[in-house]
Structure formats: structure tokens, C-alpha cells
Symmetry: C2
Subunit: 301 residues, 2 copies
């Protein structure tokens, strides 16, 4: 089964259709992106993120008919993510295709297949009765993972950390798992330690927005606390990676998001005071048990 979040951004003619993740789980609506400005607005407002922003980047290059300016603009809007490597990949592939569009589609179809393989690899190293704690959202890949686990005769239940402030855990992951009738429960981020202490989970699985050849990662804020707690409780902590790079993770800029997002539950009834809101955090390799790369490579600590 495929989640609407597996390929949440599509190209239809000269329009990019973007699943508006900020409206989930109450409404499944799509917004239209016709220009670079539209794309940047959708990106900045987090209408799409993670794998969705990869797709949005490629399709925006197709619409714009160029790559460098799009990459620079995307990077400025969401500085932690590595759009330049995506740009290089698109340029490389485009050398062998007639159009940018063909190149983009070829890469995207390839990535989608690779993600099902990656889920398969991860399933192989998870416990027989997997009780999986996760955070944020990995765009339908937990559904691939569940199917892979079933195919291997394993069982699974997901414990979904809600992922404040944007609640991607509840809005997106819980939504797509329930839609696929996969057992899942939500918990507040501050319950992770208790869930581990009580033995309710036996592994942690997260995505990563960036990763290095040393195994250090950047992922959604809260991942670091989860990793350190898992390390404490000797619970394996697995990370889905892509394009690990030879660089110092500390040198990657961590995006600070607008403070009002922390107070979204007050529906704009501010004014609201100062809040801290780094969008991501860094987890060093020493707290990670295994890396499953988009290339299909699995490495365990």
C-alpha cells in the first residue's frame, strides 16, 4: 500500500500539485505551484517537507528550466537541507536525457524504488516482534517497512512521537499508518523515556535530513534526546540516511523557524513572547546503532 505522503508532490502539465501537509489530518488538499515563488512559499510555510521538498525541488527545476537559481533559493528558504547535492544529481542525470523533465522523473522513480528496498533492508535487522518508536515523518516509508516486516513473518506496532511544535508525528505519520490500518499509538515527545523504561518499545527508527560519512546525522528537533535516551536504555536506534557526505556535521546551519509556530495552538491569539525553536538537532554517530542508506547499504555500529 502506498501513502499519499510517499509521493506528495506531483507534476501535472505545467503545474506542480503539492499535498498541503499543514492541513492534515483534517483535510487532504493539494495546492498548485506554477512558479519558483509559489514553490518557495509552499516550502517556507512547510506545506511540504522531507521527501516532499526533494520532489518539489526537482519539479521546480523542470518548471523553471534551470537548476542553480532554484537550488540557491531553496537553500535560502530551508538552510539545513542539502539542495546542492540534489542539483548536482539532476545535472548529472540530465546529461543522458533529452529534457530536464525526463531526468527529474528518472531520479524520482529511482528514489521511490530505492526507498522500498531500504525499508526491506531495515526490516531484516528489526526484532521479530518490532515495537517501533518513531518521530516526525518519513513519507510513507514506515508503510513500506510494515509490509516488508510482514513479508518476513515479523509483526510490528508503531509508537509515534507527536513531534512538537509542528506535530508531524500526529498529523502525518499517525494519519498515514491508520489509513493503512497499521497498529499505531501516538505519544507526546516527553513520554519517550517512560515508554523505553517500561519496555513498550524495542527499537527506534527515524529519518535524517542530513548525514555524514562518519555516521553523524541531523534530523527533526527531538531526535537527539530520543537517541541519547535509547542509548541509555540500550535500545537499538536506526536511521534512514541518504547521500552521506564527507563533512563536519557541526558546520551545517541549523534552521531557526518562526517562533509563532510554537504557539500555533493559540491560533494567532498572541502577541507571543520569545521562544526557542531550532528546527533540527544533531545526533552523533556514537548514539546510533545502525544506518540504512538509500543506496541499500546497511551499516551497524
Amino acid at each position: 500500500m502506498r501513502s499519499p505522503l510517499s509521493l506528495p508532490v506531483r507534476l501535472q502539465g505545467h503545474t506542480i500539485s503539492v499535498l498541503d501537509e499543514t492541513k492534515l489530518p483534517l483535510e487532504e488538499t493539494y495546492i498548485e505551484v506554477k512558479t519558483l515563488d509559489d514553490a518557495l512559499q509552499a516550502l517556507g510555510q512547510m506545506k511540504t517537507r522531507a521527501f516532499g521538498q526533494v520532489l518539489l525541488f526537482f519539479y521546480t527545476c523542470v518548471l523553471a528550466g534551470e537548476i542553480d537559481e532554484v537550488a540557491a533559493s531553496f537553500k535560502k528558504t530551508r538552510p539545513t537541507f542539502d539542495f546542492f547535492t540534489l542539483a548536482d544529481a539532476l545535472k548529472g542525470t540530465a546529461k543522458g536525457t533529452a529534457t530536464l523533465k525526463e531526468a527529474a522523473i528518472s531520479i524520482i522513480e529511482g528514489l521511490d524504488k530505492k526507498r522500498t528496498v531500504r525499508a526491506q533492508r531495515l526490516a531484516e535487522i528489526l526484532p521479530q516482534e518490532a515495537r517501533i518508536l518513531t518521530i516526525c515523518n518519513v513519507n510513507g516509508e514506515l508503510i513500506y517497512l510494515y509490509e516488508a516486516l510482514q513479508g518476513q513473518g515479523k509483526t510490528a506496532i508503531f509508537f509515534v512521537s507527536e513531534t512538537r511544535p509542528y506535530l508531524q508525528g500526529t498529523r502525518l505519520t499517525l494519519w498515514e499508518l491508520r489509513r493503512a490500518r497499521i497498529p499505531a499509538r501516538v505519544l507526546c515527545d516527553n513520554q519517550a523515556a517512560v515508554v523505553m523504561q517500561k519496555g513498550l518499545i524495542n527499537c527506534v527508527v527515524t529519518g535524517s535530513d542530513r548525514s555524514t560519512d562518519k555516521g553523524d546525522i541531523i534530523n527533526k528537533i527531538g531526535t537527539y534526546a530520543m537517541a541519547r535516551l535509547a542509548h541509555y536504555f540500550t535500545i537499538p536506534f536506526y536511521v534512514l540516511t541518504q547521500f552521506p557526505q564527507a563533512l563536519d556535521i557541526e558546520k551545517i546551519a541549523i534552521e531557526e523557524r518562526p517562533v509563532h509556530e510554537v504557539f500555533m495552538w493559540l491560533e494567532g491569539k498572541g502577541p507571543w513572547p520569545e521562544a526557542l525553536y531550532p528546527s533540527f538537532d544533531i545526533t552523533l554517530a556514537e548514539y546510533i546503532s545502525g544506518w540504512i542508506d538509500i543506496s541499500g547499504e546497511v551499516r551497524c555500529a
Copy 2:
């Protein structure tokens, strides 16, 4: 300066006036409690909690003209809190007063004074430039603490963990600190590790709903993760306690709250699926650096 949360429940004639904490920070409204049933409803809906529920308990005994039934009903509604010890204290004090009301007022005034002394003791052991991480709400005591720190020539800024799912950190603590013009910033619970890693804070201060003679505590869910992370980063973790008891902390029932509270940000647009929601967690003494008791006693690990 006194926070409205310092004494959020008051007796006026035959009516108890209860500050409705669920309406904060947008509205400062008070509800009227005239019967035991009213009191239990306010308690169950978390209109008041922590020190407010202590006050509500005493005044409800005054209204009801008896203690045991009130204690049993309160305990049933919020099982983690120790209303029986409060009942014993009220009975003891009432032996020396003409009425239950006099006994209740005598205890409450005593507690309020003791809380200012407790804040003074805590201030003495905090750093010269205190950058304090806190969770949930300790009913105005951080304001006493701030004034005590100032009196001792120390400076302070508070980092307030929002405390999902009920957001007592944002709703109550941030509100009362800002109202008193005390420097404070809010953060999502999942940022605690990053705030520690970056050295933004140099101590943690929390309350406790229960504590034992061994130094184990029960407090708002999220406290345990904060304590373990602070232990990791060797950041001192101080707890305000009251009535430590000679018992096994594991034997105290942990209240499970209604799941819909986790989804309050969806404003009832459910139906909503299963969630985990233990209202409290246990932190063992080994992760705590110091205990400051309501008796004025300070004990450091």
C-alpha cells in the same frame, strides 16, 4: 510580587473561587465551587492542579464539614496525589482550632510562608547567574525564587518547557513569569537535550507531586527524561518537595488521563485514535542533585 497562581483557589463565604487554569493565558477567569461534586468536576477537568488542588481540598472539607469522604473522592479523581496526608494534617490542626475553617486557613497560610522560605533556600544553592530550565508549573514559586535570587545578588532567566499535552509550561509558568516581568523563554519539551548541550541552561528546577524519604519523586510526565538528560550533561537537577514519605515510589498509582486531551489542539475534530498518556512519571533519587523540602530542609546528593 505574587502570582495569581500562588493562591489560585480562595474561600469567599460559602463559595470556593477557583482560577480556571485551562483558560489561561488567554483569560483570567474564576469558577465557583459550592459542593463536593463541583470540586470534583473542577479537579477532574484540571481547572486547578498542584498547589491549587491542595487549597481546593482544604476548602472543600470546610464546605462539606467533614474530611474523610472528601479525601476519598479527591483521591479517586486524581489518584497520584496524596490527599490522605493532607486529610491527616487538617484533622491534626483542627484539634487545636474552633472550626475546620480556622484549621484550613492556618495550614494554608503556613504553607504559603513555607513556600517563600523554600524558594529562599533553593536560591542559596543556585548559580550566581542562574539559567533555569523548568517544566510544568509550581504555582508562583518561581517568582518567589526570582526575588530570592535578586535579594542574594544573583541573576536569573527561565527556560520553560511547554509541558505537553496540557501545556502548563506555556499556559501557566510563562504567563506568570511574563506578568511579573521576569526573563523567560518557552521551548518545546523535545528541545531539552539541545538546550543542555548548548550550555543555554546551568540548572533544572521542578516541583514534585510525590516524594519519598529515599529521594525518589513523581512529577509531571517529562520530568524523568529531563532528569536523565541533566544527569548525562552533569547539570544539577533540583526538586521542590513536600511531605516525603517512607514508601516505595513504584507502588504509587500513576494516573492515566483521557486520551482526547492529547488531541486538544484539534478542538474535538476527532474521532481520535489510541494514545499513551500517563500524567506523571517517576524519577529515582540517583538522577536528582538536591531536594528542597517545604519544611525548609535542603539535602544535596
